[in-house]
């Protein structure tokens, strides 16, 4: 339950910045476009443990971000917030890439027509681009959620494996296996497989619907 709740939270957290990044990468023409696209996708190809280490350095009480958060009384490392952060960072690239592909499929003539009718860019996005790319947004959300559920490497580095506090499904499987509790590990594997299958199935179904429509 903790894993599902945290993954859901991470998914919610990644939606607004993810939509903004997807739109920027799909429609923006600016210097550093390729650099931004590469940076956004970096967690996909970097070892998750390395991403976790970067997050740990940034968010530890003496790190550049952690120091600022500490002044506001917010502690991240080895708390549920660290789990959520790791999940969001690891799920974001999948969300952004899926939504970006969906936005690219939206015919730009609709956006141009909306602009000539007096719609400012944000209104064009909210009333034309977003509804027309909605299946990809839902598909991206499902993918991001599934990725968050399965997140392990970054989580174990920045959040550890504290029972009842930071232990996620993936971390529990690892811990049970390490301690010889194979039956418990098998149950966790089954649960995680079901959640992953359901999310991916829904995501693929929505993506194929979106392709058929376009």
């Amino acid at each position: 339950m903790f894993t599902v709740a945290t993954a859901a939270g991470a998914t919610v957290v990644m939606i607004v910045p993810g939509l903004a990044l997807a739109w920027l990468l799909a429609r923006g023409r600016f210097r550093g476009h390729l650099l931004l696209e590469t940076l956004v996708s970096l967690p996909l190809v970097m070892p998750p443990v390395a991403t976790g280490l970067i997050l740990l350095i940034l968010c530890s009480p003496r790190g550049p971000v952690g120091r600022i958060l500490a002044t506001a009384g917010i502690e991240v490392v080895f708390t549920w917030k660290a789990v959520l952060l790791a999940m969001a960072v690891m799920g974001l690239p999948l969300f952004v890439r899926t939504v970006k592909a969906g936005i690219e499929q939206v015919d730009r003539r609709y956006e141009a027509a909306a602009a000539t009718l007096g719609a400012a860019p944000l209104r064009v996005f909210l009333t034309i681009t977003l509804p027309l790319s909605l299946p990809s947004v839902v598909a991206g959300t499902m993918l991001g959620f599934a990725r968050a559920i399965g997140e392990f490497g970054a989580t174990i580095v920045i959040a550890g494996s504290i029972p009842g506090a930071t232990r996620t499904l993936a971390v529990a499987i690892y811990t049970f296996t390490e301690t010889g509790r194979d039956a418990d590990a098998a149950v966790m594997v089954g649960v995680s497989a079901m959640i992953a299958f359901g999310s991916l199935w829904l995501s693929n179904r929505l993506t194929s619907q979106s392709s058929a429509r376009s």
Partner: protein
């Protein structure tokens, strides 16, 4: 009055227009590739000229000299593109109301009655025929209280019979509204039927302009 004085360079194609459009309906007439649609795009702000200026009355929309480039959504032009571009996820009613502005001069019932689209309002756009789509697109542009209407070959994709049926609607818009219209076409009969001023374009240049009877002899 629409004052055009700009150059647009797009690869090897160069469009050079220096012309005042003074008619109630000005037809941009010429063969394919002459630069007619590009001229409309420049007025609407969908393409940016390399240099020059574009103004409607005393409102400058673009000026390379003074670095003015009014964003598309602030230009107050109603653009009916050749492909019409009705929003596929909205009903006809929501399409028509999309560009509605505060203090608009025309209400939905007035526009719907003029273009005879009342029975279509609650349909989806995929249920419309070619002629109905053209009329809905025209209604949508009219509802935006545009300072100028830009119509890009609104009758090009329809057959002769449908053309005969839509033409009166355009004549009605011309006669009942005091909105200048720039009308792109390569059909002489449409110029004669609708326009009171014609600008003939060829290979990106204005080769002739004036009253249709003089230019299209």
């Amino acid at each position: 009055m629409i004052a055009l004085d700009f150059v647009m360079e797009q690869g090897e194609f160069v469009l050079e227009v220096s012309q005042q459009l003074t008619g109630r309906i000005t037809a941009l007439f010429g063969p394919s590739g002459a630069g007619k649609t590009t001229t409309l795009d420049a007025i609407a702000g969908l393409r940016t000229p390399s240099r020059g200026s574009i103004a409607i009355d005393d409102h400058v929309l673009f000026s390379s000299a003074t670095r003015i480039d009014v964003p598309v959504h602030k230009r107050h032009v109603g653009y009916v593109a050749q492909d019409v571009s009705l929003f596929p996820h909205l009903s006809v009613r929501r399409n028509v109301l999309y560009g509605r502005r505060e203090g608009q001069r025309m209400s939905l019932p007035t526009v719907a009655a003029m273009l005879e689209i009342e029975p279509l309002l609650d349909r989806g756009v995929s249920q419309l025929s070619g002629g109905e789509r053209q009329r809905v697109a025209l209604a949508r542009a009219l509802m935006s209280s545009a300072a100028v209407l830009l119509l890009d070959e609104p009758l090009a994709a329809v057959d002769l019979e449908l053309r005969r049926r839509i033409l009166p609607y355009l004549e009605r818009v011309r006669d009942e509204l005091r909105v200048p219209i720039v009308y792109v076409t390569h059909a002489r009969e449409e110029v004669h039927a609708l326009a009171d001023f014609v600008v003939m374009l060829e290979r990106g240049r204005v080769v002739q302009s004036g009253e249709p009877a003089d230019v299209l002899r």
